[in-house]
């Protein structure tokens, strides 16, 4: 017993020293997730298994997309480096369990904000980074140009475990059309089956349709019908019960959107520090104590803008320039005819 006493004492001493020298802010003490993230040195982020424009990995394993950028923004804010993110690709079915079980700390995976998800299953939605709606894709050769031409017996391919399945039922039921739902676990199989001719139509969020269309054997043979049958506000999700972490993710997203509103870009962010506008100065950490409440330094938002860019830059880079949805539609700023409107950082 006494043999190990010496080792034991030194171990206790070491632990004590560690505790004394670990300087923790109040917020970090309150937020277990923030503390763990800073200790690990990376943000654990759940993304899709490959949806161009939102979260997609290239051959070298680099993730890009507007959903990916939300996680990168958080990493820039809390760790100082937008690349310190560990991405976990998740199926629609796995995503919430991965988040609630603590496998990941942010779920940024084109996830629709609904009442039951927000209230029931231990999740908190922090905002909307893409306003979407469910639509239908059909083969051009079918001659269908509107959902009003759908007839009894139509077969529809989709994913399981999504709001899509529920909206599809509401849609066909309200029109009294009988249909055959063919639901796969992974998006790649849905696309392959639809492309092979198994289904007459493929239904999911319109952004998803536009992105998946690029994966088809011959994208020009397919069209997305004009009708939108549901509201699908997509946004990042965190676990319930860590309000500081929730705030960090929410305001990282808000910062990107507000930066666009005030014309702050990754290129001009540094020079904006000397701006005359106090709101701009607050957004680049030159005025006020905007990070203290989160347990972060004052330049957390400047780092987001410099390393990830504002929302407009992210959209252009990932969705517009890749030809997925060149038109921003509702995802334009409220000042320019869209519905992107976030509370002010002050």
């Amino acid at each position: 017993m006494f043999k190990y006493l010496k080792q034991l004492t030194s171990l206790v001493a070491m632990v004590a020293v560690l505790f004394t020298f670990t300087t923790e802010t109040m917020a970090a003490k309150k937020s277990k997730t923030l503390k763990n993230t800073q200790k690990k040195g990376f943000v654990r982020c759940g993304v899709s298994q490959g949806l161009p424009g939102f979260s997609n990995a290239d051959a070298a394993g680099n993730w890009t997309g507007v959903d990916v950028d939300v996680c990168r923004a958080v990493a820039a804010a809390v760790l100082g480096d937008a690349n310190k993110v560990k991405f976990t690709p998740l199926s629609a079915k796995e995503r919430f369990t991965a988040l609630t079980s603590g496998e990941i700390d942010i779920l940024s995976r084109n996830t629709t904000w609904t009442l039951s998800r927000d209230a029931d299953i231990g999740l908190t939605f922090v905002g909307v980074n893409f306003y979407d709606g469910q639509g239908f894709m059909v083969r051009k050769s079918s001659g269908i140009t509107s959902t009003s031409q759908f007839k009894n017996g139509i077969s529809a391919c989709t994913n399981i475990g999504t709001t899509t399945e529920l909206n599809m039922r509401d849609f066909f039921n309200s029109r009294g059309i009988s249909y055959e739902p063919v639901a796969f676990e992974k998006a790649d199989e849905v696309v392959a089956a639809y492309d092979a001719g198994r289904c007459d139509t493929y239904t999911t969020d319109k952004s998803g349709l536009a992105a998946q269309r690029t994966k088809m054997k011959n994208p020009d043979e397919h069209i997305v019908l004009p009708e939108t049958i549901s509201k699908e506000p997509l946004g990042p999700v965190v676990r319930q019960g860590d309000s500081v972490w929730e705030d960090i993710v929410r305001w990282s997203l808000n910062t990107m959107i507000e930066a666009e509103e005030y014309g702050i870009t990754s290129a001009n962010a540094d020079s904006m520090k000397t701006s005359d506008n106090p709101q701009i100065k607050r957004l680049v950490g030159a005025e006020g104590e905007m990070g203290a409440a989160f347990g972060l330094d004052n330049e957390w938002n400047l780092r987001i803008i410099k390393q990830v860019g504002n929302y407009g830059e992210s959209y252009k880079r990932n969705i517009a320039d890749t030809g997925i949805l060149p038109d921003r539609g509702p995802n334009e700023l409220w000042t320019k005819g869209g519905i992107l409107y976030v509370p002010p950082s002050r």
Partner: protein
């Protein structure tokens, strides 16, 4: 009663350890769920499911409860397992016997089949059959009719539906035939044991099975007609068959890949069983004047079955559990419908996964009990 602590001590400690570990996990799950604001409970089973399922053996749509959705998934799992087990057994027995054939070509062909199909992961085979079939099968409007009434297309196999009149009379006639056959068999056995007379049981059985249902048509007023599937146009280039019965390609691909895969293992069980019966048995049987058919039926097979049944039971269990790979190709089995969609819509992960696990456990144990009963029945009766 002379229990000693040193005898029961280890057992007690083991039981205690198991209980403690189980208790810890339960407690841990409880605390964590509470911390994350997740409720625990099975009340959701009676709520409206509000999602539809592609293929169901019982009446179901989104207005039914989650419990009903569970039943739909369970029945679909049982359906594909039963089809798979029957096909795998037939194919397995044929290939197993073929591997013992003195014919070089048959023998090597069977060996090649076994080695090829059992050494490729099942999931890949499922994908192969599904997507290969999807690519190869014609669109509904291009499909050639099989026997003029059935259509195999990319959207499934469409066959005529039976429309019965007075189906119950037909059903009773079959039940009556089966009861009569059982009675005749028992009598035939008695006759053989007491007087040594042999009765052509097989011929009489087949005759009964044909004549009684035929009588039900002639004098019982049973009528049978067919509803042949008819092509219907949905849009310029999209068609579907209406009327009749449709089997989705997902079911066909899954049943096909499950049985092709499992049949290889059953074939090996059959080969092992037959080779496990001593050569002397065959020679002895032949020497007392039994015909080759009788040697196989009365001497070799009863002994071979004792070796074949236990490992084949394992294969039946594997097939049933492997059917959960259905989720990959959209066949609405228990995992896809209940542990997939229902889990996502309710978020009740622990409840649903535990129900699903318990269901598979019950299914597997049922198959086990049935096969063990059969195994006991054919085992050596020690008198």
């Amino acid at each position: 009663m002379n229990f000693k602590l040193k005898d029961i001590g280890p057992q007690l400690i083991t039981v205690l350890a198991v209980v403690l570990i189980f208790g810890f996990f339960t407690y841990n799950a409880q605390v964590n769920m509470e911390n994350r604001g997740i409720d625990f409970g099975y009340g959701f089973l009676s709520q409206e499911s509000s999602f539809d399922v592609q293929f169901s053996l019982i009446e179901y749509d989104g207005s039914h409860s989650y419990f009903r959705a569970y039943l739909v998934g369970l029945l679909n799992t049982i359906l594909v397992s039963v089809i798979g087990i029957i096909l795998a057994t037939i194919l397995g027995v044929i290939v197993g016997i073929a591997r013992l054939s003195p014919n070089y070509l048959i023998n090597k062909f069977a060996a090649f089949y076994v080695e090829f199909f059992r050494n490729i992961p099942l999931l890949l085979q499922i994908f192969f059959w599904y997507f290969a079939a999807l690519r190869a099968l014609p669109l509904p409007q291009d499909a050639e009719a099989m026997f003029g009434i059935s259509f195999l297309t990319i959207k499934g196999l469409f066959v005529p539906a039976f429309i019965w009149e007075n189906f119950n009379i037909f059903f009773y006639s079959i039940v009556a035939a089966i009861i009569a056959i059982i009675v005749i068999r028992i009598n035939a056995k008695k006759l053989q044991e007491t007087q040594g007379k042999q009765t052509p049981v097989l011929l009489i059985s087949i005759g009964l099975l044909l004549i009684l249902p035929l009588l039900s048509f002639l004098i019982g007023g049973v009528r049978l007609s067919f509803e042949v599937p008819v092509l219907k146009q949905l849009a310029t280039t999209s068609f579907i068959y209406e009327g009749g019965v449709s089997l989705p390609p997902e079911l066909i691909a899954l049943a096909l890949s499950l049985s092709l895969y499992t049949a290889t293992f059953i074939a090996e069980c059959v080969r092992a069983g037959i080779q496990g019966v001593g050569k002397g048995q065959k020679e002895a049987a032949a020497s007392i004047g039994l015909t080759p058919n009788q040697v196989l039926k009365l001497v070799i097979m009863p002994q071979a079955l004792r070796i074949i049944i236990p490992p084949t039971t394992n294969q039946y269990l594997n097939l049933t559990k492997n059917s959960s790979l259905a989720a990959a190709i959209a066949y609405p089995d228990l995992v896809l419908v209940f542990a997939g969609t229902a889990l996502m819509q309710t978020g009740k992960a622990i409840e649903i996964v535990s129900i699903t696990m318990f269901t598979y456990l019950t299914l597997s144990i049922s198959i086990s009990i049935l096969m063990n009963w059969y195994n006991k029945k054919i085992a050596i009766q020690e008198k």
